[in-house]
């Protein structure tokens, strides 16, 4: 047994009574470190802004202390927005990791596969068709905001995924075909969004446009609640699926001979990924490239053969909160967070493609 428990073993067996698991050590270290970074960024996100509040005061205010002023700024103004950032980042990171493993392709993320665009189209359609554009803080008013937007985004996302699945299924799912069809679908859906914007009242179009840039501005508990609920259901499901994800990687035939019920498992993965991506889109618009980049970064940090779920989730939150911090504090003018995530993501995507080309040509 000495060979199998050498220090280089990537996974450490943990046994309690008859139960046993393997803990991937490096992935665990990455997840813990990323969580610590997230905590620091989160508190910074609360402390910094038009009014800077000292770090210590921020923490004590969070824990219930502080004076009225800092309580208002932190608990009322900044906490909801920062929380949405964390939740959205988690959703996108996890969704990307699931998609990429599902398709066995690093390009397969909800924004490339058209799912994000589908969710956007759903949400924009709701904003434009109801004409319920709010004046002031929210994008649209009342129940439409808390329930309507997430549901419209879910609907758009799931419809897109269903069409994608049907179009790319040929006795199994091939990652490359999935990506190509997804890109086509995404382009078509963007055209739908443009069309909706052209047809819309000017106020609605303006609201929709702000939302489409992927902004965390003025996001609050109304957006946090659906995201929290979705995570509460889909995170346990995703982690239960890990075992099957590992086997699915080896190809459809291998997975089936190893006792995986292929269609059911693929359906569950897809539903989780689409649900997470859609709720993120409904909360703050399509934050570009987070779901694409983060799982690949996480994979390079943890090593291994597929994007790690937990690390992708935490690093997604890190990227979104950092983007929010940069747009609010570092940049001299206000920019939607989506612009920053795209500015980081696009070069990374190019690097990934260049690398993939080299690998094929050598």
């Amino acid at each position: 047994m000495a060979v199998l428990t050498s220090p280089r073993t990537a996974a450490h067996p943990v046994r309690v009574g008859g139960a046993s698991w393997r803990v991937p050590l490096r992935a665990a270290v990455v997840a813990v470190t990323a969580s610590a970074a997230l905590l620091v960024l989160f508190v910074l996100d609360l402390a910094l802004g038009d009014v800077d509040i000292p770090f210590g005061t921020t923490v004590s205010t969070l824990l219930g202390g502080g004076d009225g002023g800092s309580q208002f700024i932190i608990n009322q103004l900044r906490l909801p927005q920062a929380t949405v950032g964390v939740l959205v980042g988690m959703c996108l990171g996890l969704s990307g990791a699931l998609c990429q493993t599902f398709a066995r392709n690093p390009l397969a993320s909800p924004d490339i596969l058209g799912v994000t665009q589908g969710a956007s189209a759903g949400a924009v359609a709701l904003i434009v068709i109801t004409g319920g554009s709010g004046y002031g803080g929210g994008i649209i008013g009342g129940t439409l905001q808390t329930l309507g937007l997430p549901l419209a985004a879910f609907l758009g996302g799931f419809l897109t995924a269903a069409v994608l699945y049907v179009l790319s299924w040929r006795r199994g799912i091939d990652g490359q075909r999935l990506v190509l069809i997804g890109i086509g679908l995404g382009a078509a859906l963007l055209a739908v969004v443009e069309w909706l914007l052209v047809r819309a009242r000017i106020q609605d179009a303006a609201s929709a446009q702000v939302w489409l840039n992927g902004s965390l501005n003025a996001r609050g508990w109304d957006q946090a609640k659906p995201a929290m609920l979705t995570l509460l259901v889909l995170v346990p499901l995703s982690f239960w699926l890990v075992r099957h994800l590992n086997v699915l990687q080896l190809g459809d035939d291998s997975a089936r001979t190893l006792g995986v019920r292929l269609q059911t498992t693929q359906l569950l993965i897809l539903v989780s990924a689409v649900g997470l991506a859609s709720v993120a889109v409904s909360a703050c618009g399509p934050l570009a490239f987070v779901a694409l980049v983060v799982p690949q970064v996480a994979l390079r940090l943890t090593g291994g053969s597929r994007p790690p779920l937990l690390a992708s989730m935490v690093l997604g939150a890190v990227l979104v909160v950092a983007a929010d911090l940069i747009t609010r504090v570092v940049l001299p003018f206000v920019v939607p967070a989506g612009v920053v995530t795209a500015a980081v993501g696009a070069p990374y995507l190019i690097w990934l493609l260049v690398r993939a080309n080299r690998k094929v040509s050598t």
Partner: protein, 281 residues
């Protein structure tokens, strides 16, 4: 990794196809084929390209569903046996499995334990022992920490066979296990198959392209043509010039192996014959 007794109906073998018709489109690849996998033997399915060898193997492994007839596993229609239970009794190494970059050999082999695991029992001492035993038999222990994409073709194939063995099933199906390997590695893999059968009592069914290797390493040869089994029996009886000519369209001499007495095929090449006559030999 030991041989286990398994309840079965007397007479019938554990795995068999009963009157199956299988096809992807309108024209079936296999029609009304019946075949009992001989228990405890190494069986090779041979036949020209497109004769339905792989289709038969994949149907036996429940990867394809026959349009009529049924595959029987331990007396039950395989479609009625839960997926997980099938995977505890029958393993298949597909023709071109996907080897993800960055996957360590130990983890690949560990994945063979999937049918025996549950979410709360993901790495029992049994799993560990089965994985180590599978790696020992296939001589891949020293590769445990290597990534699968860094291995040579022969090493990678051995790692995949180790994965199939870690599944710890009595029935092992191999779809062209020697493709893409050079001759030394082909021999290595087939020697391993023989050991599995002789020492561990595994029933092996494989699809092989190389007729000489099939003759040497099989207890039973199954010859397929146009979606039907045309002959079945021990290599010495099956390999005849007549069979090679009718099934493969091949003109060949058959000589006995000086060491084993098993048949060796020597294809008659028209070019070689012509060259020989030119030089006056």
């Amino acid at each position: 990794m030991t041989q286990r007794p398994h309840p079965r109906s007397p007479g019938a073998t554990r795995l068999g196809a009963e009157d199956i018709t299988v096809g992807y489109g309108v024209t079936p690849v296999i029609s009304e084929l019946t075949f009992d996998v001989p228990d405890g033997q190494v069986t090779s399915i041979i036949g020209p390209n497109g004769c339905g060898k792989s289709t038969l193997l994949r149907t036996l492994a429940r990867l394809l569903k026959p349009t009529s007839g049924r595959v029987r596993l331990d007396g039950t229609a395989i479609g009625d046996v839960p997926t997980r239970e099938v995977s505890q009794r029958l393993a298949l190494l597909p023709q071109s499995p996907i080897s993800p970059d960055g996957l360590l050999v130990r983890d690949l082999v560990g994945r063979g334990r999937h049918p025996h695991q549950k979410w709360f029992r993901q790495w029992s001492p049994d799993d560990e022992q089965a994985v180590e035993a599978a790696m020992r038999v296939t001589d891949t222990l020293h590769l445990a920490d290597r990534s699968i994409d860094q291995l040579s073709g022969g090493q990678r194939q051995r790692a995949w066979i180790a994965m199939t063995l870690a599944q710890d099933t009595d029935l092992v199906l191999l779809d062209e296990p020697t493709t893409f390997l050079d001759l030394a590695h082909q021999i290595e893999v087939l020697d391993l198959v023989t050991r599995l059968n002789r020492e561990r009592g595994r029933t092996v069914v494989m699809v092989l392209h190389d007729l000489n290797l099939a003759a040497r390493y099989s207890d039973v040869i199954v010859v397929m043509k146009d979606g039907a089994i045309v002959e079945q029996g021990p290599p010495t009886e099956i390999f005849t010039p007549a069979m090679l000519s009718t099934v493969f369209g091949l003109d060949a001499d058959i000589l006995p192996d000086p060491r084993t007495g098993l048949p060796i095929l020597v294809p008659v090449s028209s070019a070689a014959t012509a060259a020989a006559s030119l030089t006056g030999a």
